[in-house]
């Protein structure tokens, strides 16, 4: 009897002694984390490239001038639309974590309910992004590479801060410099928000898949909702990236 106690107590003392995960997580969940880490490095590389380009440009478009339109409400509402997008994404992150929470308790009905709300949030966010891209496509006359020539019929001066004499001086007297900044700004913007939007799209698809599995009782039979947790990690990561994209493009 005393021998049994010793044998069962031993693995608990030695975390790295084998027979259990020293991190107390399953292989799949740990690898999800490492995948997200590599994805974070990819997004980080994009944003740092953006930051470097911005740092060596003497002028840069002003977010308050570029992002000022709101559907049906007019053209002079800086940052309002992107605030709505941010709100939608944070909200969908909350519904996702509530789905994960319900999964911990094996509560199938609530997992399905919150996953459905998360999918709706994701689709709303994508719809907003489609609107924003379409709007900027109209403003710029194209998506990538719309600013390659100093063309009077194609003014980019409106994207710069009109209240700064220094900025306006460069825009007026060195239009090539201003054109090149505008060119870089929009190329980075469409690349990075596009890459993020791609992640949101695949996240929505994953969420639909696990919603179908949940409703069909796949996870109930399996005895745990870890797949909801893993997809949840991915979804929160997408929200996390948006926090940085929001700061880099709309605030700084």
């Amino acid at each position: 009897m005393s021998q049994t106690t010793v044998v069962t107590a031993e693995p608990k003392l030695d975390l790295w002694g084998g027979g259990r995960s020293p991190f107390n997580v399953s292989y799949g969940k740990m690898m999800t984390w490492f995948f997200l880490l590599s994805d974070a490095l990819t997004f980080g590389a994009f944003l740092i490239a953006y930051g470097t380009t911005r740092f060596f440009s003497s002028v840069w478009p002003d977010a308050n001038q570029v992002f000022r339109a709101f559907p049906f409400l007019g053209d002079n509402l800086p940052l309002l639309f992107v605030s709505l997008m941010t709100f939608i994404l944070i909200m969908s992150s909350v519904t996702m974590v509530l789905a994960v929470h319900a999964g911990h308790y094996g509560d199938k009905k609530n997992v399905a309910k919150w996953l459905l709300w998360t999918i709706i949030g994701g689709i709303c966010f994508l719809a907003c992004q489609v609107w924003e891209w379409t709007h900027l496509n109209g403003e710029c006359g194209g998506l990538w590479g719309a600013f390659t020539q100093i063309d009077p019929s194609h003014p980019f001066a409106g994207f710069f801060n009109p209240h700064s004499a220094e900025v306006m001086d460069i825009v007026k007297n060195q239009p090539l410099v201003a054109m090149q900044s505008t060119h870089s700004f929009f190329n980075y913007f469409f690349t990075i928000t596009g890459f993020h939007g791609g992640h949101v799209t695949s996240g929505v698809i994953f969420n639909i898949l696990i919603l179908v599995n949940t409703v069909n009782g796949v996870y109930e039979r399996r005895g745990h909702y870890e797949m909801v947790e893993k997809i949840g990690l991915y979804w929160h990561f997408v929200d996390l990236v948006w926090v940085f994209v929001f700061t880099c493009f709309y605030l700084l």
Binding site: T4, T8, R20, S21, P22, F23, N24, S26, Y27, G28, K29, M30, W33, L37, L41, G44, A45, I48, A49, G51, T52, F55, F56, S57, S58, N64, P78, L79, S83, F87, I90, M91, S93, V94, M96, V97, H101, A102, H104, Y105, G106, D107, Q174, P175, L176, V177, R222, G223, H224, E226, H236, F237, L240, V243, F244, F246, T247, Y250, L251, L252
Partner: protein
């Protein structure tokens, strides 16, 4: 009876699916209406309100203060608030704060690389900025273009 210890019954449920040990049968809570569950849900909503408040502060700063306050100070606030938001999302929503310390450290250590990246690339950008400003080619091209 003693040979059928607790361990064996777990082994029976394990069936080769590791996840059952760490996210499944072992750690299952059963009552979704328990106080523990309600406290967790309350915490999630609390973090939501914090994130929303931080975002509103950022947007107001971006609209009102970005042209009147010192640019460096505004940027410092933006970056600090961003890191704070990221911390809440990773620690609470992604439950990294609930993992054991060894795992938290393993996930976070590679991110230290970003410190080096940012310093290196800003230094590079600073060099290019000086090159661009001093380059006579830039200025002459610009003058040609306006003519």
């Amino acid at each position: 009876m003693s040979s059928h210890s607790n361990n064996n019954s777990i082994q029976h449920l394990y069936e080769g699916d590791q996840s059952k040990l760490y996210s499944g049968v072992m750690s299952h809570h059963h009552d979704v209406n328990s106080d523990e569950s309600k406290a967790q849900v309350k915490r999630i909503w609390k973090i939501f309100w914090i994130l929303l408040a931080i975002t509103l502060v950022e947007v107001v700063m971006g609209m009102k203060l970005s042209h009147s306050m010192s640019k460096g100070l505004v940027n410092f606030f933006f970056l600090a608030l961003t890191v704070l938001k990221a911390g809440y999302i990773v620690s609470v929503f992604m439950h990294l704060g609930d993992e054991i310390k060894g795992f938290i450290v393993t996930v976070l250590i590679p991110l230290v690389l970003f410190v080096w990246f940012i310093i290196a690339f800003l230094a590079d950008g600073g060099f290019w900025l000086r090159m661009n400003n001093e380059s006579s080619v830039r200025h002459t091209t610009a003058v040609h273009a306006t003519k």
